[in-house]
Amino acid sequence: MKKLADIKGIKKWVALLLTYAVVQLLVSLNIINDYIMATLTTICINIILAVSLNLITGFTGQFSLGHAGFMSIGAYTCAIIIMRYPSPVSFITGLFLGAIFAALLGFIVGLPTLRLRGDYLAIATLGMAEIIRIVFLNLDITNGAAGLFIEVQYTNWLWLFIFTTGTVILITNFINSSHGRACISIREDEIAAEAMGINTTKYKVIAFIIGAFCAGIAGALYASYFYFIKPDLFGFLKSIDILVIVVLGGLGSISGSILAAFLLALISSLLQSFPEIRMVIYAVLLIVIMLFRPQGIMGSKELSLSAFKSLGGIFERRNGGER
């Protein structure tokens, strides 16, 4: 049994490394041009944001509308650091510092607000993100509404790949641990979870901290790829964009979030050729998807190889029947 698991694990790592190598090759051969790379970056950042929000909203059941606020902390921290000391080392330092600041804020905000439930919590987190935005709007170091121009670009495919897979692996492992089970039980029934002896406040705050940390990373990656950040980029609409990915992919499905991040990027880039009605079609598509799959693309299930195998099994049985 253990050997089998090892082989499966090795296969996974090989597949991951292969994905990295292939894209890296295409980048160096210039087959992936700047435009495609920008889309790919957006997808990776959205995956980090969506998967981490999914931990808070989809798995732990805490409705948060402040994810863009955490993202902006990471973005500004990293931007300010790399503008002063432009070097790859300070990029990584800034990225982790930004993530830690975001996590710290998640802890400070989470402790009092996570006592609130449902829509009350949503409004509290929304308020938090607005406060962060207004603080950045009025500080000198952030250059107010004009925003910051970052002249150097450190985010490349290597870092995107490392942090995206890192986030997904971190959150998947957390969900599958006994801590993750405790989080899920809070979503299912908070009173019952408490009666089982689960410290519900602790786990809600932990989910919030991990989610905020990852959002901080996403913000840092954003700041050092797209050259320019301003407070308005991290407003209410950005939080909604992230929530849309999570709901579309399925609350409580990590592979759903990843799939939805790809799908939405694909749709919006295909719609580039119809600029006038782009947002209308986008919105209509969202409505249609929600009408036909209200639980999201994946529901709360995960995409796995065994799912493909069981599909294969059905085909085999059918073929067997014909014979």
Binding site: A182, E188, A195, G197
Partner: protein
């Protein structure tokens, strides 16, 4: 084993429990009966720590547990099967039982207890990989009781286990409660089905709008005219 004295609980301005005192001795089945809104569920929630009292004390095996956290009370051996079952519906039956043993770290013993629950409720074994939300009402109640047993409680608090069940199933659940008690677990049972509850209880308390109005041995209360009129339909 459990001794509550002069317990007062408020929900905002509403005075839900007004000086409730009651006692549960080791090995007993004690039932708390009364109409809707009398404060029975609040009493159980305060005992298991989900609700903080404004005044009064709760003693468990001689220790004052009035201000301890719910998880500490579970560790000490108080377990609650909450009203309305409250199972984790999108998790499987097995995962529900594992969460019942959340505070325990002795894997081998947990496995034994899961088998013990399966033995008591064979239907749960048959459905162990099924999402708990797809079980019938009776099966869900069995799961809620099984889950509460997974923390190896000394005192098992059951909040309206007969709610919404067909009469035949109610009988089965009450048989199970008696059986759990005979195997050594003390039981505090909150019920609206006064008739059934009084039949199996050693002692009973009657609650009305936040106070205890009557108490005594179950059989005695069953014969009382007042009880007959108010709760037993005649």
């Amino acid at each position: 084993m459990l001794e509550i004295s002069n317990l007062n609980v408020h929900f905002g301005v509403i005075h839900a429990l007004k000086g409730v005192s009651l006692k549960v001795e080791e090995g007993e089945i004690v039932t708390l009966i009364g109409a809707n809104g009398a404060g029975k569920t609040t009493t159980l929630r305060t005992i298991s720590g989900l609700k903080k009292p404004t005044s009064g004390t709760i003693l468990f095996n001689g220790n004052d547990i009035t201000s301890t956290l719910p998880q500490d009370r579970v560790r000490m051996g108080i377990s609650l099967a909450p009203e309305g079952r409250r199972i984790f519906s999108s998790l499987t039956v097995l995962e529900n039982l594992e969460l019942g043993a959340y505070l325990r770290r002795d894997k081998a013993e947990i496995k034994k207890d899961i088998d013990m629950v399966y033995e008591r409720f064979p239907i749960l074994k048959a459905r162990r990989k099924q999402a708990a939300g797809t079980l019938s009402g009776g099966e869900q109640q069995m799961l809620a009781i099984g889950r509460a047993l997974m923390s190896r409680p000394k005192l098992l608090c059951l909040d309206e286990p007969s709610m919404g069940l067909a009469p035949l199933l109610v009988q089965e659940i009450f048989d199970i409660i008696q059986d759990i008690n005979q195997k050594g677990t003390t039981i505090l049972l909150v019920e609206q089905n006064a008739n059934m509850a009084l039949q199996i209880a050693n002692r009973a308390y009657v609650m009305e709008t936040g106070t205890i109005t009557l108490s005594g041995p179950g059989a005695e209360l069953m014969r009382s005219e007042e009880i007959k009129k108010a709760y037993l339909g005649g």
